[in-house]
């Protein structure tokens, strides 16, 4: 047995979170049901946030929890529920595709692992090294001022920060917000298929009404199909 006093608890928690992250990532690939995939993805990304906390990147970890897990994935699950009609909850993949993906994935993993183990300095960390919390310097860097040790070697003692990328990302997010709202708006265009559907229905019903009925029906239908499963 290992003496308990010799255990590095940081490593123990690392392996806990790493196993959760990797296991759930593999489960995302293996799962057939799309809602379960979403659950495993949440667990995987949450465990990764734990890894970020362990690596001293508290702000990135909290950001991961807030934006990725709390925002993006809720959005994703929302999308899953809007489209979760019985035939789409679990779309089967052909066994050949699975084998092919397994082979390619294994090859890719081998390459990545080989490069991960290739640098000996990466494998032997210094024990008990302490880093300072980085939230305040990171915030100042995003506002354009670097106050961390990286600025020491730069000319003038100060390196420029990330003000411009920060602003670009802000505008980018705004544009994406508007664009996504425009793309996903409820109005339905007259595609050939929609016209065909409308023509096959009773004459007074408009296409828009059909769209509304179709959406309601899809939600109800998914529930009923879930009940029949």
């Amino acid at each position: 047995m290992i003496p308990l006093a010799a255990i590095d608890w940081h490593s123990v928690f690392f392996f806990l979170f790493a196993a959760l992250a990797c296991g759930c990532a593999v489960a995302v690939v293996a799962a057939e049901n799309v809602v379960r995939m979403a659950l495993y993805l949440v667990l995987s990304l949450g465990a990764t946030a734990g890894l970020f906390f362990l690596a001293g990147a508290e702000f990135v970890g909290a950001m991961q929890l807030m934006i990725y897990v709390g925002g993006t994935l809720v959005l994703l699950v929302f999308g899953v529920m809007l489209t979760a009609q019985a035939p789409f909850v679990s779309i089967k993949t052909a066994p050949g595709d699975r084998v092919l993906a397994g082979v390619i994935g294994a090859a890719l993993l081998a390459v990545l692992l080989q490069s991960a183990f290739s640098v000996p300095e990466w494998r032997k960390p210094a024990a008990g090294r302490d880093g300072e919390p980085a939230a305040t310097p990171l915030g100042m860097a995003l506002l354009g001022t670097r106050v961390d040790e990286a600025s020491a070697g730069a000319p003038g003692g100060v390196r420029s920060g990330y003000l411009l990328p920060f602003e670009i990302v802000s505008v980018h997010l705004l544009v994406v917000l508007v664009g996504a709202a425009y793309l996903a708006r409820a109005k339905r265009r007259r595609t050939p298929r929609a016209i065909e559907v409308a023509a096959s229905m009773e004459p007074p019903a408009t296409v828009a009404a059909h769209a509304a009925v179709g959406r309601e029906g899809s939600r109800g239908g998914s529930v009923l199909a879930g009940g029949a499963r």
Partner: protein
């Protein structure tokens, strides 16, 4: 506590940390579970009084104070039903997801100076982020129940919580900006002293944004008038329609835990945290931070202070619940996107300008009372010395 165990009792390091972690976890768990029992009883009594009834009177002798314990025993004994078409794993998992999220957020919440599960550099952010994860349990419950009502409740909750996180985040940022730190302990410590030091009374903008925060907090924990996810007049019981017994009670513990948490967060961010309106301890010459017994009692007093403020917040939520009618879903969204978000943004800008225009953030003619700790945050656990930092800043500014 870990240092105390290592130095005074002589525990090995790993055992000391384990014991500390277990004690902290059990204490937080008891705050949530015990708090839920008390709050459910209080809610029954308050609802009854508002509706001109008596509420529970028999159980436990007077006032029916054992009513929620009796309810708990009933819930444990109840049959645990699962609908036939339900997704078994997700159905079983969902209550625990909700409860864990609510529980995890308590880790970074300081109950008094140094009475905190884990002091985090990004405490505020962590609490708000983890609190947002509670919605996952609700969504999973809604989907896995294989019931229309549950699914509708879950969809409403998802839309509502994601929307309200935006103004909530903006409200939370204002005290962070005033304190210059995201550490909840630092933020509360900066409001030490008289009641005028609370960020609630810091400037007109923070006073307004506090009420925006209250609105958003009530909405983000799905309390009436924003309880669209469990609107019993239209959705039977919303996302927990199909739940019964102990699993159902987990949802309720999560809900009351979250209510308490957002109230405590409001207390820390805007109402001085564990600092009372009158700095009694400082007036009689005691100060927090040192280790002797008297100061320990000062901290206990501070904890009582914080718990009192948080409980007050929960009671206000109950008062609101039994007073206001429920909003429609489009009204909920309108409140968030057309009112709360613009007001929060404007108040944020206003508070920022207030800090920039008025030296030290103090209006002319007023002076800050003694006892406010404004200096030294840069030298604290936050990072390097102020001198190095300001010289670096001076290097880039013209």
């Amino acid at each position: 506590m870990a240092e105390f165990l290592i130095n005074s009792v002589g525990f090995p390091e790993w055992l000391a940390w384990t014991v500390t972690a277990v004690v902290a976890a059990v204490l937080i768990l008891n705050v949530i579970a015990g708090g839920a029992l008390v709050f459910i009883w209080a809610e029954r009594k308050i609802a009854a009084r508002i509706q001109d009834r008596l509420g529970p009177t028999r159980t436990g002798g007077r006032f029916g104070w054992l009513q929620s314990l009796a309810d708990g025993i009933k819930l444990i004994a109840k049959e645990d039903l699962m609908p036939e078409g339900a997704d078994g794993m997700l159905f079983r998992l969902a209550p625990y997801v909700s409860f864990c999220a609510s529980f995890c957020a308590f880790i970074a919440l300081p109950f008094a100076f140094d009475f905190v599960g884990q002091r985090l550099n990004v405490g505020v952010f962590f609490v708000v982020a983890v609190l947002g994860l509670e919605v996952f349990g609700v969504i999973l419950a809604g989907y896995a129940s294989a019931s229309k009502w549950s699914l509708f409740g879950a969809m409403r909750e998802a839309a509502q919580v994601v929307s309200y996180e935006v103004p909530l985040g903006m409200c939370v940022v204002v005290p962070v900006m005033l304190a210059g730190s995201m550490d909840l302990v630092t933020i509360a410590e900066k409001q030490a002293g008289w009641v005028t030091n609370w960020y609630l009374f810091h400037d007109p903008f923070t006073f307004v944004i506090f009420w925006v925060y209250v609105t958003c907090a009530v909405a983000s924990v799905n309390r009436a008038p924003f309880d669209l996810a469990e609107a019993e007049s239209e959705l039977v019981a919303g996302f927990h329609t199909e739940y019964s017994g102990l699993r159902w009670s987990y949802f309720f513990m999560a809900e009351y835990g979250s209510m308490f948490l957002v109230s405590a967060l409001a207390a820390v961010l805007f109402m001085g945290g564990w600092n009372g309106p009158i700095p009694v301890a400082r007036l009689v010459g005691l100060s927090e931070g040192t280790g002797d017994t008297a100061n320990y009692f000062v901290r206990l007093l501070g904890m009582a202070n914080l718990l009192g403020k948080a409980t007050l917040g929960v009671l206000v939520m109950m008062w609101v619940r039994w007073t206001l009618p429920r909003l429609r879903i489009d009204q909920v969204m309108t409140t968030c996107l057309k009112y709360c978000t613009p007001i929060a943004a404007a108040m944020f800008a206003g508070a920022m300008l207030w800090q920039l225009m008025l030296p030290g953030g103090v209006a002319p003619g007023l002076s800050r009372p003694a006892g406010e700790i404004r200096e030294g945050w840069l030298e604290g656990p936050g990072g390097r010395s102020a001198a190095a930092r300001s010289s670096a800043v001076a290097g880039v500014l013209p």
